[in-house]
Each structure stands twice: as structure tokens, then as C-alpha cells.
């Protein structure tokens, strides 16, 4: 009787541990899921653009934000580009350190509308690494990307005429406690 009860309780305890583990495991799983499906406008990474599809164009607008905790000025050189779907495009952003200290920042990013996340592919981006600026320093930062022509076959995304690529720069703690 006792051992039978104990066995049931232990099995239930294993269930509790598994679900608790699943709760924590969901952090990397969720990141992988977003990367794979473009959920929440998560962009993709690629090596080479597949080449422009004739006559299919889309406007990509650039949006820039800076966390109030980071004394930088950050803006795109052009507000938007009209590009061929499938064609490679390069856009530049400039960042300037307005403070009297050396500051390191990193950019988070996504695209809207969210359903184009899985078609928006970056080949190279300043957001892949951290950026460190000396006091008063100004840099030009490129992003190279293309929009996957598969977007034309997706009924959810087919009528998208404009994609907004958004960046937000956050400070990286000098102590490097994060990540």
C-alpha cells in the first residue's frame, strides 16, 4: 500500500519536474521557433540574394529608435528604399555617440507586418554584433538584405506594399552581465 502510493506520488513528481523543465526549456525553444517561423517579425539570415523578380517591387521603410539609457543619435540615411523583390539592397544607418564616455550598444530588430518576418532575409547587418563608439564618434553602418520571392505566394503577405524594418539600440552593460 505504502509503496504503491509512493510510486504514484513519485510518478506525479516526475510529471511536475518535466513540466517545470519544459517551462525553462521554452526559452531556447521559443527563440528557435521564432527564428524558424518568423513569428513576431523575426527576420531570417541568408548568404546570397536569389535575384530580382521582374516587375515586383516593395517599399522597405527604415525605423530607428534609441533606448533612453543610451546617449546616442541613431538614424537611417534614407527613410525608405523601393526595391525589387528578391533583389539585394544595402541601406546605411548612422550612429553618433553624444556623451563624453565610450559606450557600447546592441540593436534589437524586427519587421512589420509580422507575417513578412520569414521572408525578410539579412545577409549582413550591424545588428549581428555590438557597436562601440568613442565620445563624439560617428559611424556609418550597413545592412544588406533581400525579400524572399516566396512572399509572392503567401496569401497572408501577398498584398504587403510596405515593410518596416525597425531597430532599437540598447546599451550593453560594461560589466557584460547580460548574455
Amino acid at each position: 500500500m505504502i509503496s504503491r502510493n509512493l510510486r504514484t506520488a513519485l510518478l506525479a513528481g516526475v510529471g511536475v519536474c518535466c513540466m517545470g523543465g519544459l517551462g525553462f526549456a521554452s526559452v531556447p525553444l521559443y527563440r528557435m521557433f521564432c527564428a524558424a517561423t518568423g513569428l513576431n517579425g523575426t527576420t531570417q539570415r541568408g548568404l546570397e540574394a536569389p535575384g530580382a523578380v521582374q516587375g515586383q517591387k516593395v517599399t522597405v521603410a527604415f525605423d530607428s529608435n534609441v533606448s533612453p539609457a543610451l546617449a546616442w543619435e541613431f538614424k537611417p540615411e534614407r527613410r525608405s528604399d523601393r526595391i525589387d523583390i528578391g533583389g539585394r539592397d544595402m541601406a546605411f544607418f548612422t550612429a553618433k555617440n553624444l556623451s563624453s564616455q565610450t559606450l557600447t550598444g546592441t540593436a534589437s530588430f524586427n519587421v512589420t507586418p509580422a507575417q513578412v518576418g520569414k521572408y525578410f532575409t539579412k545577409i549582413q547587418c550591424f545588428c549581428f554584433t555590438r557597436q562601440t563608439l568613442k565620445p563624439g564618434e560617428e559611424i556609418r553602418m550597413p545592412v544588406i538584405f533581400y525579400v524572399d520571392p516566396k512572399i509572392l505566394d503567401d496569401p497572408d503577405a501577398r498584398d504587403v506594399k510596405e515593410i518596416t524594418l525597425s531597430y532599437t539600440f540598447y546599451p550593453v552593460d560594461s560589466a557584460e552581465t547580460k548574455r
Binding site: 502510493n5 517545470g20 517551462g23
Partner: protein
């Protein structure tokens, strides 16, 4: 449901003579209790106290919302913390709604349903002498005390104004001070308490049924507690993980939910609602079970479609785990994801419909008597159906884009919880009051309680549908003048409900000491479950000789 016939000469006749009814002294009995009935009583007392506090807070909210503009918030804030700015007063509103939600969910409904009635009647209904792990049962209850204390103390340390959902980033970078940490720790403790309780119930129900009590002969209330225990077991650890990460984000510079460190606040919402949706079924399933017992008893018929009823609850539990994102329709989902969650959510209406149908079919052709427990159960069925219908409306992703976070949602979940779960709690309380105390409640006071409460809550919550459709957002202490009319009516509804509650308290105190003595079975032949074969109140230790459940005739 199957009739249960005791073997001849079984359990209950001569318990008064021997040691089975020997009770320990006051301190040992109530503070170190390992007796499932005493622990159940403690849970019920705890839930009533928490309900008074949580209900009092909602009274403060309805008082503030009775008229446009801020009337009382500033004074309440000043009473607690000294003079403050306008923002402090409105933040205090957030503290009130958070406290109301957390108290009612974790410290009123769950302790009453699972800890209270579950502890009291699950062992008796399956013919077991006690729970499988009586000491663990004691820990489950006493974990709630520090948990509730932490939550009640948090307003004195700034207050947790995060909503019961504790969404990041409001709960991480948006709230400073120890109050939110205290609320999170309070949730941890309450969760641990419920997980231990769930393990206990599962073990008891699987291993300690009396001879002949197969799973398919168990009373539906036991089935409901079994399904609830599994939901608790699978859902609460996910909440524990989610809020542990909240704590580390707040205190140890992690960035699970912080976009600047590569995290995502939406992840918290997914984790919370993966727990949160099963949680709403945790709160209502034991109510389903109680209502099934009561409707069968007062119709003098076995429940219609017993197996369908039992497996409808299983189905609700299973599907409850795969619909969570319908709470997050406005977080930016693709149309397909919305379609899936809309469809999956509506599917739940099918087993729920099976239950409503079966309750009505149980009454159909039955010899019904409208005693207080029965009118509460009927009130439950009506209210829950209204709340279910608005739930189907809200399940539509497109409609929800408009309805999200409006008073329509508030009306919906109060119809299923405040009117559904609470009505079933009152039904169960009146139904088992004679069994628990040995005395009958006063029928007139019980009926008055029901009718005044019924009118009050409908006047209180029905106008919220209109307010929500007009776009009044929830969690706001103020509203435009155009919405003053229905808000005032809702506040009067609260007052009517409060009058009803007076009859409840008068009734229980009067009946506890002066009530007519109840026999073993005050409800007659309709009450077929094992608790009615015992004396009222039952002996301190029941079933020294295990009852044998005969394979009775089929219906």
C-alpha cells in the same frame, strides 16, 4: 451515475462506541492536523476569510467606479502611505485590481473547491479512510498562510500593481521595490501548495478506492477533482518556471523577457497563459462535479450520461492546454494562428454543451425539489451558459481585436467565475453543510441569500457587457461621462449582492449553533454517494471497515 450500495453491516453503525471518534486537543487538532476533514474545514474557513477580503476590495473598486472622476483613490492611498501624487493614487488602483484577482483565484476559489470540498469529500466518496499523504495535506494548507500573508503585506511595501497576469515588462523593469517580489513569491508558495495537493489527490483516487469502486463508478465530483489535479500538476510548474524567470529578470540582471538583452516579453505571455487557461478550468471543473451531484440528488435521478459527463471533463482538461493564445490575439499573430486558436477554443463549447445538456436531461422527468443547494446549482447552469456564450463570442480572433481588455471580457469571466464558480461553491456549501456540521441550514435564509445574490450579481455584471461593447477598457479607475449610467447601475448591483451576503453569514452562524439536527441523509433517496451513509458530522475516522461497493443494477 451508479448507485452505491453498502455491504450489510458496514461502516457506519457503531462508530460512537469505539476509539474512532477520539479527537486530539485543540492545538494538535487544528494546527498539526492530518485529518482530511479538519484540513478541509481549515481550507473552507481560509477561503471564506480570503473571500471577504477579496470581495471587500471589489467593493472599494465599485465605489470608485460608481461615478466618473476619481473620488476615493487618493484618500485610500493617503491612508496607507501618506500624501501622494495623482499618479500614486492611480497606481493604487492597479494594486487593488491585482489584489482582487489574485485573492479570488488563488486564495478563495481554489482553496474552497479543491482544498475544502475536495479534501472533505473525495476520500469519503471513494470509501477511503483518509488522504494518501495526510502530513503532506497539512503542508499544503499551511503553505497557503505565508503565501497569503506575503500578498496581503505587499501593499505596505509599495504595492504590486501588475494585474493578476504579472506581465513583463511592467512586472520587471516597470515595477520597483519589494512588493512585486513578494507577490511573485506568494504565487510560488501557493503553487507549491497546490502541486502537493494535486499529487495527494491523484494518489488517493488511484490507489485508495474501496473494493468495487472502479474508476467508472466514482461519483462525478471525484472525477472532477481527479481531472483538476492533473491540470494543476501539468500547468502550475510552467507558471513556477515563468515567474522564477521574472524574479531573476528583476533581481539578477537576466534578460529572459527583456528585449534589450535578447529576450522577449511575449514569451512571458505564452508561458503565463499556458498555465492560465488550464487554471480557469481548474477553477470551474470541481464546480461542474458538485453541480452534477446536486442536480442528481434533487432530481432523485442518477445523472444522465454518466460516462459522457466524466469524459467531457477529461476532454475539457485536454483541450484546455492547447488554446492558450486566445488570450493573446492582439500580440501580432498571423491569420492562420488566429484561426487555429479560434477554432480550438470553440471546440471546448462541445464538451461543455454535453455537460449542460446532461444536467438538463438529468432534471427532465425527475422528481425535483427546489431546496437551496438546487436553486444555486440551477443558477450556476444559467449563469455559466451566459458566460459560455460570451466566451464563444470572444473566442473569435477578429472580434477579440475589438473586445480585448474591455469590460466585455470582464463581464465574460465574471459570469463564468464569479457567477459560475461561486454559485457552485454556494451550492456545494449548502448541500454539504448538514453533513459537515450535523445541523441543517435555514431554508428561508438560504433562499433569500440566493435570490438577492442572483439579482445583485446580474445587475452588477450584465451592464459590463454594454460598457465593454462601448469600449470601456478594463483596469482603469475612470471613464468618460457617457459610460456613467451603466457604471452606477453596476455599483448598485454590488450593494444588492452585499445584502445577499449578509443572509449567508447570518445563516451559517445561526445554523451552526441553533440549526435543526440533520440526520445521516437529509436529502432522501436522491443522495446516493457514500458520504450520506455516514453520520452527520461523520466520525473523526471513517471506514474502519472498508465499504464494499456492489455491482448494482443498471439504469
Amino acid at each position: 451515475m451508479t448507485d452505491i450500495a453498502l455491504d450489510h453491516g458496514a461502516a457506519h453503525d457503531d462508530h460512537a462506541h469505539h476509539d474512532a471518534d477520539h479527537k486530539p486537543g485543540f492545538f494538535v487538532r487544528w494546527f498539526m492536523s492530518t485529518n482530511h476533514k479538519d484540513i478541509g474545514t481549515l481550507y473552507l474557513i481560509f477561503a471564506i476569510i480570503a473571500g471577504i477580503i477579496g470581495g471587500g476590495i471589489s467593493g472599494m473598486m465599485r465605489l470608485e467606479l460608481a461615478h466618473p472622476g476619481l473620488q476615493y483613490l487618493g484618500a485610500w492611498y493617503e491612508f496607507l502611505h501618506g500624501p501622494g501624487k495623482f499618479d500614486d493614487a492611480t497606481e493604487f488602483w492597479n494594486v487593488l485590481i491585482t489584489a482582487h484577482g489574485l485573492i479570488m483565484v488563488f486564495f478563495m476559489v481554489m482553496p474552497a473547491m479543491i482544498g475544502g470540498f475536495g479534501n472533505w469529500f473525495v476520500p469519503i466518496m471513494i470509501g477511503a479512510p483518509d488522504m494518501a499523504f495526510p502530513r503532506m495535506n497539512n503542508i499544503s494548507f499551511w503553505l497557503l498562510i505565508p503565501s497569503f500573508s506575503l500578498l496581503l503585506a505587499s501593499p505596505f511595501f509599495g504595492g504590486a500593481g501588475t494585474g493578476w497576469t504579472v506581465y513583463a515588462p511592467l512586472s520587471t523593469s516597470g515595477s520597483h521595490g519589494p512588493a512585486v517580489d513578494m507577490a511573485i513569491l506568494s504565487l510560488h508558495l501557493a503553487g507549491a501548495s497546490s502541486i502537493l495537493g494535486a499529487i495527494n489527490f491523484i494518489t488517493t483516487i488511484f490507489n485508495m478506492r474501496a473494493p468495487g469502486m472502479t474508476l467508472h463508478k466514482m461519483p462525478l465530483f471525484v472525477w472532477s477533482i481527479l481531472v483538476t489535479a492533473f491540470l494543476l500538476l501539468l500547468a502550475l510548474p510552467v507558471l513556477a518556471a515563468a515567474i522564477t524567470m521574472l524574479l531573476t529578470d528583476r533581481n539578477f540582471h537576466t534578460a529572459f523577457y527583456d528585449a534589450s538583452g535578447g529576450g522577449d516579453p511575449i514569451l512571458y505571455q505564452h508561458l503565463f497563459w499556458f498555465f492560465g487557461h488550464p487554471e480557469v478550468y481548474i477553477m470551474i471543473l470541481p464546480g461542474f462535479g458538485m453541480v452534477s451531484q446536486i442536480v442528481a440528488t434533487f432530481s432523485r435521478k442518477p445523472v444522465f450520461g454518466y460516462l459522457g459527463m466524466a469524459y467531457a471533463m477529461v476532454a475539457i482538461g485536454v483541450v484546455g492546454f492547447i488554446v492558450w493564445a486566445h488570450h493573446m490575439f492582439t500580440t501580432g499573430m498571423s491569420v492562420q494562428v488566429k484561426m487555429y486558436f479560434t477554432a480550438a477554443t470553440m471546440v471546448i463549447a462541445v464538451p461543455t454543451g454535453v455537460k449542460i445538456f446532461s444536467w438538463i436531461a438529468t432534471m427532465w422527468g425527475g422528481s425535483m425539489s427546489f431546496k437551496t443547494p438546487m436553486v444555486w446549482a440551477l443558477g450556476f447552469i444559467f449563469m455559466f451558459t451566459v458566460g459560455g456564450v460570451t466566451g464563444v463570442v470572444l473566442a473569435n480572433g477578429g472580434v477579440d481585436d475589438f473586445m480585448q481588455d474591455t469590460y466585455y471580457v470582464v463581464a465574460h469571466f465574471h459570469y463564468v467565475l464569479s457567477l459560475g464558480a461561486v454559485f457552485s461553491l454556494f451550492a456545494g456549501f449548502y448541500y454539504w453543510f448538514p453533513k459537515m456540521t450535523g445541523r441543517m441550514y435555514n431554508e428561508l435564509l438560504g433562499q433569500l441569500h440566493f435570490w438577492i445574490f442572483f439579482i445583485g450579481v446580474n445587475v452588477l455584471f450584465f451592464p459590463m457587457h454594454f460598457l465593454g461593447a462601448q469600449g470601456m477598457p478594463r483596469r482603469m479607475p475612470d471613464y468618460p461621462d457617457a459610460q456613467a449610467y451603466w457604471n452606477l447601475i453596476a455599483s448598485w448591483g454590488y450593494a444588492i449582492m452585499g445584502v445577499g451576503m449578509v443572509f449567508f453569514f447570518v445563516n451559517i452562524f445561526w445554523s451552526m449553533f441553533k440549526g435543526e439536527k440533520a440526520g445521516d441523509n437529509p436529502w432522501g433517496e436522491g443522495a446516493t454517494t457514500l458520504e450520506w451513509t455516514l453520520s452527520s458530522p461523520p466520525p473523526y475516522h471513517q471506514f474502519d471497515t472498508l465499504p464494499v461497493i456492489e455491482d448494482s443494477h443498471h439504469h
